[in-house]
Symmetry: C3
Subunit: 400 residues, 3 copies
């Protein structure tokens, strides 16, 4: 007896229970509801799935390795340095092919600097003096080039002079670049090798065509349409595509951001994942009211003479800094985002039904009738006759 | 006739169908359900939307370019090197303004090293010997400085000596730094220029004030309140904000992480996206039980004498390594996350209703009555009279 | 009176309303529905929560700082350079311990280059000539080493010669490396120090064991099982784990990607977040049809003779480039993804009920009976008797 009771209970588990609906023969609300349903389905299929690929799991944490190689040769002739031939080993800093590299386009050499005493530059405010008392011995010149010796060097008695300092003398001369010295830097080519890996999907790719033809990379030049897998760029083309003139940039230097964008739909396969190159000038601000344009730094070469004394050449170099940034995104079908998007779409349809109920129950004439049909057991002035026996549960009887 | 049948079918599509509810006049479960509803709505509005901005799509893959420039001058005087004046071109490695840069605060020069024969350092375990048989000719000294010549150099007969090696001689002497040589490195300033781009929203910004006033960057110093767009920092301030004393760090070197945090709410517009700077010491572990503190490396300068023979200066440099890391997050309103969050919130309300049903059907006294009202057609001992005609569908008749 | 009406309205707010269900005594659909429910619950618990940790919020934007240090010594003897002893200060470029570093394994020195006139290399296509007219004075040689002097240097009258150029002479000789010169580079060790920070969870960790034992890092070598927190690797082991032979790579150079993978489940605590190391060769493409293998670049050392004239040594260096990439992912329990996943799972169950309804209403024999029970007020040939009084709402009466 008890067994058959449990069996019965167990079997009722498999009685399908389905919600009871009432049919409101109201075409307006019906059309409204169908419209809501249609727009949610349209949004789900059109926007979420087709446009935004909401069925895909994405990986934006791309691992990337960039190697660069610059080619080209240039000749300069300046008063300080004499005739010089420049190869990549000289004008690329650092020379080892990093993702951030600097190409010298202009420079000022201060050769044969030795440690000794000379006048501070007159550009340094803290080094100006009218007498020896302005130059405290042993004090460092703020934003200057050395330590004060205590003497003020005046051209004549009434003028303002500069303190004598101990430092690398002679001090670098004032220099306002007029035009770039490495004029043909525009024709240098830069080869950007990029390897990416999406660890979530274990997917790797490189931006170089896979070929056994050894001469391919020696002759080609990048062309978005015809040669997208030949990542060799003329510097002049890069600045032009960034919207700037190379010669202008080369004079005072500048900074160019090279973005390699990988937007990969892995559902479509290996061959549908291509690199795209964007070029932006980074040292000019959005509104062009920029004080931070130009790019230069100083580096030195040290020498020793026969007596073992050090001397050095100080180079102030202007040039274009290339910052190669890789941005990648890969997407692949995954059940979880699909389920989340479908599930939440369905739940929104429930919200649509709720909204239509509100219209039905509060905004239309005969809403009272609907209310009584929808809510069985609702107490009203005229008691709903067929439900009385069930509806009169007393609140006090409950023990919840 | 058939046409009007199809027309009828089509029209029923626009009959609004709404779920039938039964009203359980049970205030306790009602209150419970309202509480569940309220907490879900509160969670959705308060936590998800207001606090966590769940209506926004976010981009955390910021593209960033960092340029640094250090200013300051220092004077040192050591036995080996004599008086030296240091400018940024000397103490910043590399000099070209990278995001990872090293500032020398202490050093040991081993000048005039030449290739030749000398004793291995007594610190190298593998170089210790008691006789020539310990120094196999042509064998490299493990963790040492050259190749063994086969001779063991002993001070006197009973002591332990070191093998003679062929290498750059003299070997660097033992050095335990006591205090930094570049004492005023604390006053050097570092200018950190950062440009970011969020490609998902095509939004760019820089951490420098947009102004045409050329003197702005020459005089200002960073102040979180007054000058947030003047990214010039004193080294001493950086270490202080990282919780460490500069002079301590300068002696043995160290590593500082500078995080630039961009947390941008693009719904509020361009001017609500500010950089924030955090400073952490990286070479000290969380629990301070660290063996990996300090930072030093060696670099060389090569010279040739009149005879064309190479000699070099070996520099062991200690200093502070700055690692500038940029972390960015941008959010902007998007329909998809909004729909997902609202949808799942609504679905959870359904779960709340299910939970209340369980309470109503199983935990309260008159639950049997509710069960029969809720489940139309439920077979029980006393058959529900008004539903008999419908409920007696035989299982055997079904063909599903 | 009005007050009690409002009070009544307010109180009905707390009448619990629950959906009315009809029980379809159809075991097949019931089983189908239970199966759908079970599979959704199984997917939600098994796949989403247990396997994919869908209850966690994740942070993939790891901030990372990498410091490297290479140890080892090697001896070479080549015709051009004579015997040389190499320490890390020489063979690591750059020497300051970056995340991207290059270790020289092979090199060709072209010592004592001076600016002057000599023949262009015969490998440069643009430098070949049959007469002086092919060598326009002042023209730069494309992909060459200097500027043409106007003379064509021919061995004899009938052969093809090369233009005379002004550049750094002598030109680097042709060089096809046969075997690496730094043979024992294989035994060098590289110490990779990594510090990570997840800003979303304010969690930091380093890949070094926290110990006060100073000798720990001096003696240990990485072992995945026994010493996972001793990040010191033999170069030979790294290439072996990347699937390549070190000596082969060392001859022409190559590029190795070292990925440090942090997959942290922060719910399990600090000690359940371990680094894992992966090694890949980056200069060989996926399909092995590679033209981009090998890695070399040139760098120079400048000298001045007693007369102040510059001369230089040009080094063409081959070697292994290590690119240390850090990839991190941290997950921690968060209410939002949990709610989203549960919510969408519940919504999908609603879709399952809808599907079963379709089966019940359209695919089984007695579906018409079900339809009339499910949809109260549905007009049919035999009017549903018990609902007539409510169902006969006239469409025309509605004013929605």
């Amino acid at each position: 007896m008890a067994g058959s009771l449990w069996k019965g209970r167990f079997l009722t588990l498999f009685d399908y229970k389905t919600e009871k609906y009432i049919v409101a023969k109201n075409k307006r609300v019906g059309v409204l509801y169908r419209l809501i349903q249609l727009s949610i389905i349209g949004y789900l299929i059109g926007w979420v799935f087709i446009k935004k690929k909401g069925y895909q799991e994405t990986d934006e944490a791309v691992q990337s390795s960039v190697i660069t190689k610059v080619k080209g040769v240039s000749v300069t002739n300046s008063t300080e340095s004499g005739p010089l031939v420049w190869g990549p080993e000289d004008y690329v800093i650092p020379p080892q092919g990093e993702a951030v590299l600097f190409i010298i386009t202009n420079f000022l050499e201060t050769p044969n600097q030795k440690l000794g005493y000379c006048a501070e530059s007159s550009k340094v405010l803290d080094g100006l003096c009218r007498g020896d008392e302005d130059c405290e011995e042993g004090k460092l010149v703020v934003a200057g080039h050395g330590v004060m010796s205590g003497r003020c060097l005046l051209r004549d008695e009434n003028s303002t002079g500069t303190c004598e300092i101990y430092g690398w003398c002679p001090i670098e001369r004032k220099f306002k670049p007029q035009h770039p010295l490495l004029k043909n830097a525009e024709n240098f080519t830069i080869y950007i090798k990029n390897f990416i890996h999406f660890s979530k999907f274990n997917f790797s790719k490189s931006n170089i065509r896979e070929t056994t033809d050894e001469s391919y990379l020696k002759q080609c030049q990048y062309d978005e349409q015809r040669l997208p897998y030949c990542p060799i760029f003329r510097l002049g083309d890069i600045t032009r595509r960034a919207g700037h003139n190379f010669q202008d940039m080369a004079t005072f230097g500048g900074s160019i951001g090279v973005t390699i964008e990988w937007d990969c739909d892995l559902d479509k396969g290996y061959s549908h994942c291509h690199p795209r190159y964007h070029f932006t000038r980074l040292d000019i601000s959005v509104s062009d009211k920029a004080i931070a344009t130009g790019f230069n730094f100083r580096h030195t070469r040290y020498f020793k003479n026969a007596a073992g004394e050090s001397y050095r050449s100080l180079f102030k170099v202007y040039g274009v800094r290339f910052n190669i940034m890789v941005h990648g995104k890969a997407g692949k079908f995954s059940i979880i985002p699909t389920a989340i998007n479908i599930g939440s779409g369905l739940a929104l349809m429930g919200a649509g039904a709720f909204f239509c109920d509100m219209v039905l129950l509060y905004l239309i004439k005969k809403s009272d009738d609907y209310r009584h049909r929808k809510f069985e057991g609702l107490e009203t002035k005229k008691a709903a006759s067929e439900d009385t026996n069930m509806a009169t549960l007393e609140k006090d009887d409950l023990t919840c």
